[in-house]
Amino acid sequence: MIPARFDYLRADSLEEACQALASDEDAKVLAGGQSLLPLLRLRLSYPTTLVDIGRLPGLSGVEDRGDHVHIGAMTTHDEVMRSPVVNAACPLVAMATATVADPAVRHRGTFGGSLAHGDPAGDLPAVVLALDGVFVARSERGERDIPAAEFFVDYLESSLRPGEILAGVRIPKLGEGWGYHYEKFHRTAQAWAIVGVAAAVKRSNGAIQEARVGLTNMGSTPLRARAVEAALRGVEVGEQVRPACEAAAEGTSPPADLHAQPDYRRHLAKVLTYRAIGKAAGAP
């Protein structure tokens, strides 16, 4: 890889890293590098300084904090998908993480890095959005909570401010009675999702009490399929699920690329939502 020239700072403390980022708008955080390095390689990004946060203490690891799980930003995908806490308390995160790229990428790429990158084709943003996760941003001024619904602003753009670093994410525990599924549609195992659907469903007496649906790659940001969520409320698990899922593409503006045109993506969103809901609801 032959990137353009940049300076490199290995931060010893979060404060130092925040300071470096605050003082230079064109500085970039280097976490696992799995999204940033390809951009550097293609010379699509010309940062002045890479602020390496790889050795900062306290940014990595998964913690059970009672009503939520805290996932440190620098926790690798591999750690996340193997974490007993994640698998027990928020299995949807583990399921989606297991579909990210390939083992090599999952050993270097980080949970926080992939979210802060804000790629709507990434698998994790839709999941955290569906689970109403809370992003914890740190800066010289202290800590700030950003609800997932406010975090993803536009394509590759988050609401992190200059000088802010994503320190971790809080994933609320949904409690008993929930089922989960991440339905990823892609052409090869390592390829991005053409469309992905993250579903969490709470069943009660054979009916859907509540459903959460996040959509991957159906717009410039990850999206919630709110119309589906509303339509599913109270629906018996069975024949009525499919019509409810017909609303999956409402309010989306899916991209056109080599793998899919928007009309095909809208169609896929409906089919995949139906499948994801079915699996999350434990339907046969």
Binding site: A4, T188, H259
Partner: protein
Amino acid sequence: MTELDAGLVGEQIAESGQVAEPSGRREIGRARRRKEDARLLTGHTRWTDNLQQPGMVQVMFLRSPMAHARITRVDVSAARELPGVLAAFSGRDFADEQGSLPCAWPVSEDIVIPDHPPMAVSEVRYVGEAVACVVATDRYRAADALEAVEVDYEPLPAVMDMHDALTPDSPKVHESGNKAFSTTITSGDVEAAFRDAPVLIDRTYIQQRLIPSAMEPRAVLASTDGDTFTLWSSTQIPHVLRVMLAVTTGIPEHRLRVIAPDVGGGFGSKLQVTAEEVLCLLLTRRLGRPVKWSESRSEGNLTVHHGRDQIQHVRLAAEADGRIRGLRVELLADMGAYLMLVTPGVPMLGASMFNGIYKMDAYEFACTGVFTTKMPTDAYRGAGRPEATYAIERVMDELAAELGIDPLEARRRNWIRHDEFPYTTVSGLTYDSGNYEAATERAMALFGYDKLRAEQADRRDRGDPVQLGIGVSTYTEMCGLAPSRLLGMANYGAGGWEHGSVRMLPTGKVEVITGTSPHGQGHVTSWSQIAADALGVPFDDITVLHGDTAVAHKGMDTYGSRSLVIGGVAVLQACEKVKDKARKLAAHLLECSPDDLEFEAGAFKVRGTGASKTIQELAFAAFTAHDLPEGVEARLDSDATFDPDNYSFPHGTHLCAVEVDTETGMVKIRSYVAVDDVGKVVNPLIVEGQVHGGIAQGVAQALFEEAVYDADGNLLTATMADYLLPSAADLPAFTTDRTETPSTGNPLGVKGVGEAGTIASTPAVVNAVVDALRPRGVRDVQMPCTPERVWRAVQGTRGGERS
């Protein structure tokens, strides 16, 4: 100087344990693990990019962002001023010495071979064409300096579509126009075959453009001592390259050494004389420093020659019972912007193969080569034969559908029976041997053909959203490129022989020198097996040297499934000559007639007595030369050049079952059975590897890979995020087996296996996809059969043709 006691040294060698015992087993046919692997897999490798030379510098090329433009200004002065930069040049700086990249295959009288400067001087004709270069102390500085080179372009219209390119008012790629060549081959009375034919099939298929993706990207290193030049290149063809570079650059052949060190795959993409090879030589001549170039993967996707890219119009006339009367093929072949080494020859390699394994009375092949403003195409695994096989195997399924019979039955009614070989086909080739019935029967049994057909019927009846499709491909291919006589008739610029030599070393070890240039095929192992059997020496006592024109001085290199069929036979013949010499020496030492000697397990034995001499003893006796018979030289070393009389024709039956999700368009391969007949097998493990890799590559064309240019000529698939290669995770476990019908054209009975899997598998997979959807009126899905294309075919909209 100590006097050498020959007897003592000989004993020492024998007692040192260095001479391993021959195993007594035949080596040919053994699934030997490859000698190459331990070194390659543990990183003890010599890829061109790993090589270092004192004073070495790096060159990088600035590449055109325009598909077609006049170059009005190139200013490299700012780049020259940057730190670490030694030199920067435009194409004009080399205009007088860079010559034109060669095309060795003028396939027709009317062919136009345009000037192809390694670095563009006045006009660029594809995105990625080199317009300037920077030489710096390292690649980082060179890459930075490239950004300081200024080029002004005057845009010209891109020419992207072959049909449009041939219209009279199309913009021209070259002044001479957009037609590179046209040619027609006719056999039999085609008009009569089609007149009043009870069954007519008329189809058009698109062979999409592919990007060869060898594991090792290309790299070149050139150096000179002021007198001689050495070029290391990640090439399949060091010998051909040396000749062509001598002709192109004017560096006399005897002062140019070409080395292909470890080469990590080629698939035809390294069967080329590249701009970068020529320019590295010219740069080292101008600068007096070793100059290296290494491509990035994205640079490679733009500038490695591409493969396929044909539009095939195929018409087949048949009797009511399905017997084929005649076949007409009209081909448009996209040459890209220039004719490279064998660009126009690729469609012609398929010209005689569209009739496949089938008997018919008449055949017509018409091909037009078309210039477009894209990267030139050239050989890619199979080169012309996968395209031909795809067309005929697709059309055979259409014939079956038309008649309402099983696709295998349509084939049975037309194929050459095993008792009809050797068989001269309608296109004039003589197939040496084969048994299509046996391979098909075996494949059907392994596949569970009838059971899967039953499941297919059941899913159709139930209206299952996931439909099952079964695809058939009963392919043959033309291997062992090529008999020199036939190449001469085809106006190819070289012969097709191969050279092998054997050096018997004093200690009884053996050096085999081959003119083939392995880059993943395992020749070191297979040639060792051939020599071990022929000479009776242990497998481990043999080394194989290759890929360096100073070591392996004669050769025609590796491509076209030729290495074993021609090069392996040359090694065998050289071994036989060694044995002839050894026999004379043994007879002399054992004081008997050569006719009284029998050769067994590496030793000449006097019939009826216990007296014998091992070949190792004889090698040492030849080395000491103390007691040689009259007229025998002090060596057993021998060489041989083999030129076959005919091609060889492997064949096989591949069966593929796919599940097509009609709601999403996703195609999943459920099972895949390949029964190949590649003649005699030297190393079953290597054959298995070739078949697996070949199938993967053919499946990739069917389902995944496509080089996509936009209307302006920009390559949209320059990275592997956009150009999809399947990995093991995307492929099923293949079931493979073999039948064995020896070739009659060479003493090993071998046929070649390098391209078989790729040639066979593409139509098997697409036939399966179409088979799954045929009840819905689908009869074609354009490759690659992406989920979106399949879904649209199901919807009856774009991307799939409906009847």
